[in-house]
Amino acid sequence: MEKKTFVSTRNACKLCAPFGSTLVFKGIEGALPFIHGSQGCATYIRRYMISHFREPVDIASSSLGESATIFGGRKNLSAGLKNVMKQYNPKMIGIATNCLSETIGENIEQYIKEFQSNDKAYSKIPLVGVSAPSYKGTHQTGFHEAVRSVVKTLVKRKGERKKLLSILPGFVSCEDLRHLKEILEDFGLDYTLLPDYSETLDGVFWNEYRKIPEGGTPIRRIKEMGMSKAVIELGKSLLKSESAGSWLSKEFDIPYYNLPLPIGIQESDRFFKTLEKVKGFPMPEKYKKERGRLLDAYIDGHKYLFGKKAVIYGDEDFVASMASFVSEIGVIPVLCASGEDRLKETLKTLIDPKIMDQIEVLPSSDFMEIAEKAEVLKPDVFIGSSKGYFMARKMKVPLMRAGFPIHDRMGGQRMLHLGYKGTQMLFDRLVNIFIEVKQETSPVGYSYI
């Protein structure tokens, strides 16, 4: 089949920058996300997040209308910030621009300075601005830009070197964040995890509506990140110029480890070895056992997996680590696709060249292109977000939901992907998909394997 290339995007495999930025702000203690632009963006982003996390997501907007667009949004921004302070009493406001405010040339940094100097009463609440034009990059760009802005705005002091480990996990699930914290605590590490929306976007039952959910990275801890003895940043797709970790490392002379998401044995090993190095002693027994059990499971299940073909799609770092994991167990990631544009480079940082040869890589792609390619490659499984459901359904191929978003099932926020434990869960789900297909298509319908 001859490949048609389209100028247009048909069912995007990406979101826009303000999405990622507001998500980061949701992960800071007491912070309220704010979009400087038209009203709709805040609402659309809220409902997209709510449908995955199933939690309240309050995002304010400066609600720029026609006159503010012509005469400038300064007044709306300042009125909006004051209203948010009155209503929510936040400890911080994270302000992302969007395509509208960027196109009309709003200078967010300057507006923030003016706002804070005009009225002393408002100068105590930290305001973090991030430029997040929707026409530049994807939600991942907005995410990393926001982490970088938070760090650059809040980390000031350079003090005595502490035992602190700064960890920048990237866009992972709430359960992943909780697991990372568990690991760091078990290692006895003093850490700052930024952002941390594990509680704010997967919280407990409340009884009474809360203005800002409990949880998130404490601002005090962010301020101390300049004193870290090491910084670990997950995600190989990051460019140095975009990365908060490399900024911290450069600015405060801190050792910097940029690692892929720890999915699979190889990448989990790399992650745990880095922690061992930072801490200075071997990983706790608990994780040795988790690793051992995972290896044991790999062996138990390998016959059901060998030679199976997977199509993996989503964010570059997720796709790369997932591809690395499935190649460890004999599944061929025949197609790796993302709406982002550096997928090939990202994959190459962790995938064996021999395996790379078997992968078709579709960077800057969309779901229709992925579906058309999948029709040719005839995979045995799709791995990725719920947005791939339509092609899986059409092709009658199972979909293993993972990553973001999971809009058609409960519990996407509680799905674990990282570490030996996360890999174990993914492994069990994946192998069972093939076992089930075999069982379902068997004329006998046996009840043991």
Binding site: F6, V7, S8, T9, R10, N11, A12, K14, L15, C16, F19, F34, G37, S38, Q39, G40, C41, T43, Y44, R47, I50, S51, R54, E55, P56, D58, I59, A60, S61, S62, S63, L64, G65, E66, T69, A79, G80, L81, K82, N83, K86, Q87, Y88, N98, C99, L100, T103, I104, P133, S134, Y135, T138, W206, N207, E208, Y209, R210, M368, K387, F390
Partner: protein, 449 residues
């Protein structure tokens, strides 16, 4: 008690002696965390169900990504509307203009998908970067020989309602093409259903009622509609307008230009749906039609009413809050809730006008709180104050109810359960019953209950 920002106080009305008129149809207040979307959203939801048209969103990716397949508008045939096409503008396009890309996108997509018409939605930045969308559409229409209609839906240029108007303008231009075409129809009783979007198959149910009454539906605007039907709809004898907020401007225009009278109806609730069908029958004033209508209404009520009474037993005296997009729907919901024995304590809408709110006042009891363009903090405060047991709203309202520990019924455009018509009333009663009577509240009741 809920804290209401000073500037919003006139948009909250407590029904007491001497209460003033509510203030509405305002731009959302910056920083208030409005539940509203934007102009684009208004256009997108109205035109979306036209299943054999190409819907191309001109702008950066966000607007297309967030609205991909979110509306549960079913089609009995083609499903082109479910693909979210975008010109996906990037930084270079913003600098040099997006016209060329728009033209290319239109050409390739019309060639590939052969739609009967194309709608091009302008998003926020299109007007600002100065793209001449009209000319591009004209050129494409001429070359491809299908109607290519620009929809002026820049997000910041007003509120959702202005988007409805932009969509209606596009629909009018579509039906006004080929004016001289002949229309042959034996049935003298022809109507258009306006403002029903076939969510969960609701248009199909309503069409079936009219069919049983001996009335021919030319098209539904826009549930399960086709371009060719819409082109013919100016031949109808009567327009039946539901969701008047979205379709009123088109109904008025069709009256003015084609002399088609219209009536305003609602298909939600036994009273309103019966009234709607009788009004149509009385308009045609035909004995057979009237008899058939009576028979239909009688048999449907006989079928559903005993079951509704069962639910009513459990629900009698319970308190509800309603917050929806259009005020006319809120009006019907108050009556439908009354049918199952419930009192509406709080009612509000995103886009109601003065006339709508006057009607709401008439059906609301003393002490009811009426809100325009409310937000999570106000809404949760009022719910607490009024000791409400169930909230009826959309996706963004759901977590407010759930976090507070009260029931919720989705009455928004994503719903998968039909709530219109007689069967819809039964479904609605069951929806309310199943959430209020669920055992899960045993451990999670709000402290006011």
């Amino acid at each position: 008690m809920a804290v209401v920002l000073e500037e919003r106080k006139d948009q909250v009305l407590r029904l007491e002696n001497g209460a003033k008129d509510i203030v509405c149809e305002k731009e959302s207040l910056a920083g208030s965390v409005s539940q509203r979307a934007c102009v684009f959203c208004g256009s997108r939801v109205v035109l979306y169900p036209i299943a054999d048209a190409l819907h191309l969103i001109h702008g950066p990716i966000g607007c297309a990504a967030y609205t991909w397949d979110i509306r549960g508008a079913l089609s009995s045939g083609p499903e082109l509307h479910r693909i979210s096409f975008s010109t996906d503008l990037t930084e270079t396009d913003v600098i040099y203009g997006g016209e060329k890309k728009l033209y290319q996108a239109l050409s390739e997509l019309i060639d590939e998908y052969k739609p009967k018409a194309a709608f091009v939605y302008s998003t926020c930045i299109i007007g600002i970067i100065g793209d001449d969308v009209q000319s591009v559409c004209k050129k494409a229409a001429k070359e491809k020989n299908i109607p290519v209609l620009p929809v002026h839906s820049e997000g910041f240029k007003g509120i959702k309602k202005d988007g409805y108007k932009a969509a209606c303008d596009a629909l009018y231009r579509l039906m006004d093409e080929n004016k001289d075409e002949e229309y042959l129809e034996d049935n003298p009783f022809t109507i258009n259903i306006m403002g029903d979007f076939n969510l969960a198959g609701e248009t199909w149910m309503i069409k079936e009622y009219y069919q049983k009454m001996g009335i021919k539906v030319i098209t539904a605007l826009t549930g399960d509609s086709r371009v060719d039907e819409i082109k013919k709809c100016r031949h109808a004898k009567l327009n039946i307008v539901q969701c008047s907020g979205s379709m009123m401007s088109l109904a008025k225009k069709m009256k003015e230009v084609y002399g088609i009278p219209y009536i305003k109806v609602s298909y939600f609730g036994i009273e309103d749906v019966s009234d709607a069908l009788y009004q149509v029958a009385l308009f045609f004033n035909d004995k057979t039609v009237l008899e058939k209508t009576q028979e239909l209404v009688r048999s449907e009520i006989e079928r559903i009413y005993p079951k509704i009474l069962e639910y009513r037993k459990a629900l009698e005296g319970k308190k509800a809050a309603v917050y929806v997009g259009g005020a006319f729907k809120a009006f019907s919901l108050i009556k439908a809730l009354k049918t199952i024995g419930m009192k509406t304590e709080i009612v509000g809408s995103q886009t109601g006008n003065q006339e709508d709110y006057k009607l709401l006042r008439e059906v609301s009891g003393e002490g009811t709180i009426i809100v325009d363009d409310t937000n999570p903090l106000e809404l949760s405060g009022f719910i607490r104050e009024k000791k409400v047991q169930i909230l009826i709203g959309g996706v963004k309202e759901r977590p407010i109810a759930y976090k507070m520990g009260i029931g919720f019924c989705d009455h928004n455009h994503e719903r998968k359960t039909a709530l219109a018509g007689f069967q819809g009333m039964l479904n609605f009663a069951y929806e309310v019953y199943s959430t209020v009577e669920s055992p899960v509240w045993k451990w999670t009741q709000p402290d006011y209950l």
